[in-house]
């Protein structure tokens, strides 16, 4: 029951975000440039907050920034691929292969 609540509350909240400007702009003319600018900061902030802990806090939950951290190294390789290609699929595939290759290194 609690979980249904999570499903519907998260879905409702997310839908409001999606529909926000689509509905507002039915009336107003343009999204103010200043608002657009601040909105552009949301993806890098949120995505980095999701990615970085996954790379440096893996395992026992402690901070691990060393050559022994396979996920951090594979993440750096994937970041380089993302930078060069801006290709989602290539980034994921190369990152996973890097992780597998590193796990073979004793």
């Amino acid at each position: 029951m609690e979980l249904w609540l999570v499903v519907f509350a998260a879905a409702f909240g997310t839908y409001l975000l999606r529909v926000s400007f689509v509905t507002l702009l039915g009336r107003a003319d343009e999204v103010p440039a200043r608002v657009k600018r601040v909105l552009a900061f949301v993806p890098p902030a949120v995505l980095a907050a999701l990615v970085l802990p996954e790379l440096v806090l893996y395992g026992d939950g402690g901070l691990s920034v060393s050559l022994g951290n396979d996920r951090l190294l594979a993440g750096l390789v994937a970041a380089a691929v993302a930078w060069k290609t801006e290709d989602m699929l290539a980034t994921v595939v190369v990152g996973m292969l890097a992780l597998y290759a590193l796990s073979l290194v004793p």
């Binding site: 979980l3 249904w4 999570v6 499903v7 519907f8 509350a9 998260a10 909240g13 997310t14 839908y15 975000l17 999606r18 529909v19 926000s20 400007f21 689509v22 509905t23 507002l24 702009l25 039915g26 343009e30 999204v31 608002v35 657009k36 600018r37 601040v38 909105l39 552009a40 900061f41 949301v42 993806p43 890098p44 902030a45 949120v46 995505l47 980095a48 907050a49 999701l50 990615v51 970085l52 802990p53 996954e54 790379l55 440096v56 806090l57 996920r71 993440g75 994937a78 993302a82 930078w83 801006e86 290709d87 989602m88 699929l89 980034t91 994921v92 990152g95 996973m96 992780l99 796990s103």
Partner: protein, 230 residues
């Protein structure tokens, strides 16, 4: 639907096919993780079908697993999806011509990939029927994702642990993160968001992602106002 609308729908559906190799496994991971966290099969699929935001679903599932209060779970999911507000603002001028019902319906499918593919096409060819094309690409992405989730619900246990499929998720975010960093202010948003998330990982009630995201946006806005690097 006129024949040209049907053509644009199919063009959209086809243009979204390259997202499937990343998108379907993403759904798979979301489905498998939800079931492991105690969601019923139906709840797990409903989560993908209604929320339709993999990053937020996984963040929410993580927090549920960690025993966070439900309000924090939902708040975190919504904050992770805050980026959809940006897409909403950017795509709104194109949606303006749609009827109001079509606008409300189309909004549900707004995610990183549907947004990026739609805007690319709208800028490339003005004669494309915006609604048909958008619904076409959304159909591919939505069906792929929800079907991936169903597969994860059914077969999540069968994937060997050694495959470390869960790592595909941060990689996917990384693929979205890198192009979102375009200048000084967006770099600050990413750096602050990332480091605060790491530093805040032990905060009570798991408010880490919420705090980190808001800190990143605030820091970037300040940088921007100060005109650093301009």
């Amino acid at each position: 639907m006129t024949p040209t609308d049907r053509r644009d729908f199919l063009a959209g559906a086809w243009d979204a096919v390259p997202t499937l190799p990343a998108n379907v496994p993403f759904g798979f991971v979301a489905g498998a993780a939800a079931v492991q966290a105690g969601f019923s099969d139906l709840q797990a699929v409903a989560l993908s079908a209604f929320v339709f935001g993999g990053a937020s679903q996984l963040a929410a599932i993580d927090l549920l697993d960690a025993g966070a209060p439900l309000a924090i779970v939902v708040l975190t999911a919504v904050v992770v999806n805050l980026r959809y507000v940006m897409y909403s603002a950017a795509i709104a001028p194109y949606f303006r011509e749609f009827g109001s019902k079509a606008r409300l319906f189309a909004s549900q499918f707004l995610v990183d990939t549907t947004f990026a593919i739609a805007v690319t096409e709208y800028e490339r060819d003005e004669s494309t029927d915006e609604l048909s094309y958008y619904l076409g690409e959304s159909a591919t992405i939505y069906v792929g994702y929800v079907a991936g989730t169903a597969a994860g619900v059914v077969a999540g246990d069968a994937v060997p642990e050694g495959l470390q499929l869960d790592f595909a998720v941060p990689l996917l975010f990384l693929a979205l993160l890198v192009p979102s960093i375009t200048d000084e202010a967006t770099s600050v948003a990413a750096a602050v968001g990332g480091f605060v998330a790491v530093a805040a990982a032990g905060l009570p009630m798991n408010v880490g992602i919420v705090v980190a995201a808001l800190a990143g946006v605030a820091a970037a806005a300040l940088t921007d106002v100060a005109g650093v690097g301009q």
